[in-house]
Symmetry: C2
């Protein structure tokens, strides 16, 4: 999506360690008008899929999911990052390794908010190794819900997570796909 690629080129900052910092429009300050346009695009892509719920994970995904959900006219559910180790039977749980923070989080969703008759569109800001997306899919599988696909704002295609999940049959629509990035050559997109 050219609008988004232009914004990334204009405002994104490359940091050492393959980190792309987009916190001035996506995950600290949020350019709501831009994200609203992305939500409209997710709707165009998935409008015929009978989506009943958008699923994301706190914190950065929430704004994107809420702005997208207006178009679908369905609720958002955001998975929580579990604070402690206390396990409880009223949640679905999955482990997610974080590329950025170099740690492992447990993400949870209450059993009340994901059901076997749900058709879920997963929304997230980034797709890199695919761990967060795998975790969200695992929560849906535990609930017996159908994942119709994923709507991703920025995919770091060179990290391969998206391709392996597509090879497993998951539909993934990424609005910007980065083929390569470095402080020398800048950011190159693929389509």
């Amino acid at each position: 999506m050219k609008l988004l690629e232009d914004k990334i080129l204009q405002d994104g900052k490359l940091l050492p360690g393959n980190i792309l910092r987009v916190d001035n429009f996506l995950n600290h300050q949020i350019d709501v008008a831009l994200i609203d346009r992305l939500g409209e695009e997710f709707y165009r892509l998935y409008r015929d899929c009978g989506v009943t719920k958008l699923l994301t994970v706190e914190a950065s995904g929430i704004g994107i999911a809420c702005l997208s959900a207006r178009y679908f006219n369905v609720p958002v559910v955001f998975a929580k990052k579990a604070k402690g180790l206390n396990s409880s039977d009223d949640c679905y749980r999955a482990e997610v390794a974080s590329f950025t923070h170099k740690n492992v989080n447990t993400v949870t969703v209450s059993r009340d908010y994901l059901h076997a008759d749900d058709r879920v569109l997963i929304i997230d800001d980034f797709l890199a190794d695919g761990n967060a997306l795998r975790g969200l899919c695992a929560l849906c599988t535990q609930a017996g819900a159908t994942v119709v696909g994923a709507g991703i704002v920025i995919e770091k295609a060179f990290q391969g997570g998206g391709d392996s999940l597509r090879a497993e049959g998951l539909r993934i629509e990424s609005l910007a796909m980065i083929q390569s990035m470095s402080t020398d050559t800048g950011i190159l997109f693929t389509h």
Copy 2:
């Protein structure tokens, strides 16, 4: 706001320790159509205040702030809960004690996203003791920004945080104000 009060009476769950659980429409599953209506109401209340930015804190405030910001046509900034103790000079920082979680968080906002010429509307899901709101005001004060007021979804008026902040001169608009609640008598609103 009657729409919201009715929703709280219908779907809210009272738990021991003065906890009101509204996670089926506000802070785990999000009823986006309802929250969009609340955002419209915040806009009606603050439309003449020259708001340049909505400020909230992760995670539950983000969806409400994003849906509200569409009406104001301004960006959202969400304060982050600091993970470690590592201090850095590129952030404003404030301490916030959590009523629900019985702990103290440091909340931070990058200096890049709050400025002296900003007129900030603070958005949050709950106001109880007022600690989160005080913390967000402190971040604005550090930036030299003007706080035009706060838009709160649910105020637990009996905990007094809202009244003391109003007495200090802060404008607070809460869309539902709970006067008392208990498992015996249920939830009573004040206006």
